[in-house]
Symmetry: C2
Subunit: 321 residues, 2 copies
Amino acid sequence: MSERGDSGGVGVAQVGEFGLIDRVTARLSYGSTVLLGPGDDAAVVTAPDARVVASTDVLVDGRHFRRDWAGAHDIGRRAAAANLADVVAMGAEPTALLVALCVPADVETGWVEQLADGLGAEAASVGASVVGGDMSASPTLTIAVTALGDLAGRSPVTRAGARPGDLVALAGRTGYAAAGFTVLSRGFRTPRLLVEAYRRPEVPYAAGPAAARLGATAMIDVSDGLLADLGHVAKASGVAIDLRRDAFEVPPQMRDAAQALGVDPYAWLLAGGDDHALVATFPSQTVLPDGWREVGRVAEGRGVTVDGAPFDGPTGWDHFR
Amino acid sequence: MSERGDSGGVGVAQVGEFGLIDRVTARLSYGSTVLLGPGDDAAVVTAPDARVVASTDVLVDGRHFRRDWAGAHDIGRRAAAANLADVVAMGAEPTALLVALCVPADVETGWVEQLADGLGAEAASVGASVVGGDMSASPTLTIAVTALGDLAGRSPVTRAGARPGDLVALAGRTGYAAAGFTVLSRGFRTPRLLVEAYRRPEVPYAAGPAAARLGATAMIDVSDGLLADLGHVAKASGVAIDLRRDAFEVPPQMRDAAQALGVDPYAWLLAGGDDHALVATFPSQTVLPDGWREVGRVAEGRGVTVDGAPFDGPTGWDHFR
């Protein structure tokens, strides 16, 4: 492995559970939301709003990530991002992460340290901290992350508030991570833009609370694919959603990769997950701030369409199939 | 499997990720701490104290539990108990659990439903609710639970506050789960008292907040074994702790099992984990309430002793070794 610290060559079994926890917690730093960090039975985190937003996501080796496709630092960032995106998609400000790590005994401690650094760096990028966790040996490397957040006095923006006439807006990229995944799974390492997007999503964190302040009626982070996730919004809200295909420009590198691999790039853009864009609905007269662009409209009815018709490609991911 | 519902014969792969999540969330119920339950990007939980206590523990199949030794309901209760115990050991009241479940594709949905029922039942026993989670297929069945809690205006009771002269007190049982584990690992199914204690710990939840109200100076839940966990307290507090061996009575069934299996029962009582008893230090003049009994004293120095001498048996568990 390329990412190793001084202790990189030491397997986790050699330092033991407590030794590894000590090594990891020594690398973490704690922001102002942390009243009591790791090392006790539980952490204590600020919750000034007197409500706490909480979400859990789990990543499994070989299914949600591959250690030969991404380094430990990027895998840590991605594991954190998946959860932090869920918190900002409620309109909340992330405060803390807790991490349950299951790791095969032959994994090197340096890999785990880099993973922790990646988790900590992604958390710090939004003012949150890794405040606790647990580790165990396991045949399967698994990273379960819980993110906490604070609503700062706002109502949570759920999936259920979209109303006919609302505009549908997107913040962040879609299709990049899916394209990068396809590229990697065909044995390529370029285009770099796509591969890097798969390795480390660029989540538009600030757009979540901003949308809440602006009166977003519904919001979700795009983890299963835009069509699937808007399907969740449409179902929860009891509405139909129609996307405009011309709102999605195919970037040149994605176009070229799609052509080379024989893939419809709109399958990436509309059905690819894991970029953790945010998609929200707003009252129709809303003037969207920087970072948000209109991609469709809410109507009476049910289901999600593209230019008025069902999308004729894959519509999302199911992690059991 | 004996614990199956109507859908017991259906493997999780057949119903898919979303189908399984729907089945599980339909079985859960939500107490007054839950402002928004499962089904959105994140849950919203009350945090009236404006601080939230949070702890994560992970259980790995074959390492922390065995499906042939305990049913799914008991495994769920035990996974919840391990985390809820951490929250009450800070002196907090549990409010919520989040569960990340990794499950092999051939596990039956009925097993997962029973697990969810067990998690929910244990949470409900302390007024908390399962508010969210995630599921994925994985070769290794893994249950990562995060528990949240509220301090109700009290200071958190950490491991670091024990002072020389304090008395050491225990609430709950020790050694029962370890004895049950030994019994099961030798191929026996009785004594039932011990085996049941291993399958489903009886955590003295109310004793945690009660100790905090009473002015406990330090507290920890006994998950690694009494000596190991008091070792954490002694180290964090910069003190020595001495236990009185005669404070630990060997119950008749444990004595008989120890004799039959050729085990020192004090190795179970003093070094066995997983009963999730609570051990705390209190100012020396404290009149202990029901449920707490004095088992030792805090002194100047370092380390943990029994009747003034090091314990000459195993002192705890390390989940990597």
